[in-house]
Amino acid sequence: MGAEMAIAGPPLAILIATDGEADAARLRAWLTDDPARACQVAVVRTGAAALGRCRAEPPDCLLLSASVPDMDAHAVLEALPRPHDDLPACPVVVVGSGAARPAAASTDRAVAEAWVDGDRLTPEALWIAVRGAVERHRLRQQLAASQAHLAQLTAQHQTGTTGAASRLRAELLTEAGRRLAESLEPAATLSTVTDLLVPALADMCIVDLFRDDSAVERAAVIHADPARAALAANLQQYPPDLTRPGVAEALRTGTSDREANVTDEMLVRIARDDEHLGLLRALGVVSHMRVPLVARGRVLGSLLLISTTPDRRYGADDQKTAEELARPCALALDNARLHAAEEWARQRATTLADATRALTEVGATPAAVLPLVAQQAATLVGDLAVVRLLSGDGRWLDPVAVDHPDPTVRDEANTLLSAERHPVEQGATGAALRTGRPVRVAGAALETLRRATDPRLWPPLPRTPTDALLAVPLLVDGRGIGTLSVSRAATRRPYREDDERFLQELADRAALAIERARLFADIQASEERFRRIFEYAATGIAIMDLDGRFVQCNPAYAAMLGYRADALQHVPFTALVHPDDRAETVAEIGVVRTGELPFFESECRYLHQSGETVWVRTFVSPLPDRSGQATHLVSLVTDVTERRQAEAERTALLAKEQAARADAEAAVRARDQFLSIAAHELRTPTAGIKGQAQLALRMLRRGTSEPERLERSMRGIEVSADRLAALIDDLLDVARLQSGQLRLRPAALDLATLVEAAVWRHREQTPSDLSLTFEQAAEAMTVIGDAGRLEQVVDNLLSNALKYSPAGGAVRVALRADEAAIILSVQDDGIGLPEGAAEQIFRPFGRAANATTQNLPGMGLGLYISRQIVEAHGGRITATSSGEGQGTTFTLWLPSSPPLVLDDSPDGTASRFEVKTDEVTTEEARV
């Protein structure tokens, strides 16, 4: 097989008939791009046009689209001119599509030389089809010419001689011509020929054929007598030894020879050994002739015709007849071989295309790809195929796939090879990886290699011994990642260059597929990793478009806000932000989107689906595409609500503690200050009393006779003692108030009467230049209270007003009531209050600055005590003033008494009357 297919001579003229613009361009490019295939291409659009061109000037080949308009392919084929015995003027290759392959019938005139599938067509497959069609067409033409010649000879035989033998030969030649013209299979061709020769022209026929490696192969041994066929078959072992002179000269010279009478001496000379000789003698060879099979100027082999019938001794006529027969036979054989080679090449090309598709399928894993590679190598190159991959440390080639067309051999080889690591430094396989080039060895070179390497690299494979070896590297970017190797026994032909090319192409596709598969696996793993990060991250991750709409968010993000992850798609993120933080957040996103900042980090409030506020820390950054252009935004979000709450609680606690400490410290300071002031205030009148007393004693000791001076000292003592007594009363009140021990004796009383009495009392002591007026409503102003204490308060307010009033001033006292309270106001036009003093004056010793600077007497306890008493009654007291010198108004509110008739209403009003019967302490009343 594998006949030479080189076409010498001028470039091929190809006519393309198709109405597809792109199709025409594609076919033209494939036929003209490669300099080795440079064809002259013409294109027509219709079948009729193609037919016209073929009639006028037939091209070397017509490339006919099955769907060509005007006349379809079938019609064109039918109508093609047929100058030679039904043979069309030019070969036709039909470019079909998918299932549109026409059913071929050998008798049908409309059969094309070749048919190709336009959908799966590759430049290689097209070229094989065109080249094969042209070549076979030429052979057919020769065959036709040869047949014409045979017909002529037959006619001569029939007219010249009338013998039965001549008639037989004439019939033989006619039949041979007819049969051979149809033969396309080399094996079928051979049997066609031998069937005709035996027994018509010979008792035995032996076909010897040259193999590619120039060795001679005994292709067939036929014996007319079935009983002797087995014996004759033994001659199969003795192909002619061309090194010996006089043996099968026809194979060397290309000219026939004949031996009319074979003698025993001759047999002795021909025989290789005794056994051979015995065989030849046993068969009883009487006469023989050998005619070469010559086609296209090459000797393909020979036909050896043997007679074992004593009265059949070959003469010149027989030799001529044999030669006449051999010529079409050689042409037919060559044609059949060419066809087979073309089929084979086409199968390989198609396989490569299919392999490429299969191997590059997305998701193909090395585990799936490699057995396929081994299988294809085993089938299309043969026989044992092994794929090995380089180990991680780069030292070993580990077998990953083993295949053989025979399942039994495959299993055996698998067992023997699959565990065998092949060291990179050794053997043909190692060399292929190291050099990055195919290594092809057979015969003596292989034996040398076998001896030079570790015997373990050559496991005994009895059914498929390694007699020829072809190893090619699996290369990715020029780097070897493994090897693909095939091996076979010596009974099969050694590997050729086209095997090497094919295997390397297969290996290249496999390497690419492996790399793709690895990359794909890497990408998948990587994607899976990132997907898991996204899915399982504790941090919320959201991807938004530039308008801030969610594209995707992970479960953590959705869960944080109480949603399902898919529920948030296309929702603008602002919908989830607390309204108060919305504007700020939108501004932040804008800053990131415009690229002003590479990212933005902030804490803000989001809204949970339940409406609750969720404090989050967000980290927003742009998500750029490959060109670096931001297409999306990524937001990382952490729930910091708990932290925020904890912080707030801690801050509040701290503030509370600080306030409590400050209060405690202030209380201590206030008490210290109080004690200081109180001590000072007590000692001062005491010092006055003691001083006056000692002065008086001094006067008495000296026997003074000035009673006025004595009296003055006594009065001084009295004033100071009064002051001291008042002070002690106040201090005792303060002490009771502060310890909650001020006892009230509450009773219903008319505040109007109480105030009126106080006004009268004070009016007696009021200087004539001051006016004291009292304005009151007609009705009684009943309150529940301690009469003595309330009197104390009113006295304090009146005496203050009078004390701080300037000469000619007026003090206005007014009493009124609203729904809930009795309101007493005492207004003067005295010194007023400096800013901030309105409250200060109600603190112990808290006299206003303008009171002390004007040297007005007073200890600063009266208002403090008054406020405590009023508050113990459930009332309040305040001071207002427009400022210094603007006078002051004190206002006292006391809750008005409820109706005197009590009801048993359970709403708690009754409890307010318990004060009527029980003494309450300031502590209780304040609660």
């Binding site: 000072h680 009148p685 005491t686 010092a687 009393i689 001083g691 002065l695 000292s713 001084g716 040297n855």
Partner: protein
């Protein structure tokens, strides 16, 4: 800077009227020339025209307290050489007395004879 033969001058500064009376009476009897003021501000007005040999000074007074009086006195360079006896009911009297550069301090209430003895001692030996 006292003039020999001239009666010793004592300035009493106290907001308590009873004490001013008692001190003025007793010290006048003992031969001192006495002026009295009810606060620091009045005292400053007095010493602008009248040079005391000794100042008896209360601390807690309205309008201007004793400590402020001393600061003003120094600032205005008035009666700088007159020794000061602090006479006060304040608890922090001693520390304040020290701060204001008093020659002596007497807590209220006080023994009249003791005070007069101190006055006598300091008035006799005018400030260094």
């Amino acid at each position: 800077m006292s003039e020999p033969g001239r009666p010793r001058r004592v300035l009493v500064v106290d907001d308590d009227e009873q004490l001013r009376y008692v001190l003025r009476e007793t010290m006048t009897e003992d031969g001192y020339e006495v002026e009295a003021a009810s606060n620091g501000r009045e005292a400053l007005t007095i010493i602008e025209r009248w040079q005391p040999d000794l100042i008896v000074l209360d601390l807690m007074m309205p309008v201007m307290d004793g400590e402020t009086f001393r600061q003003e006195q120094r600032r205005l360079r008035l009666a700088e050489r007159a020794p000061v006896i602090v006479l006060s009911a304040a608890r922090e009297m001693r520390s304040i007395a020290e701060r204001v550069g008093a020659a002596a301090s007497v807590p209220k209430p006080f023994d009249l004879d003791d005070l007069l003895a101190t006055v006598g001692r300091l008035a006799a030996s005018p400030g260094a």
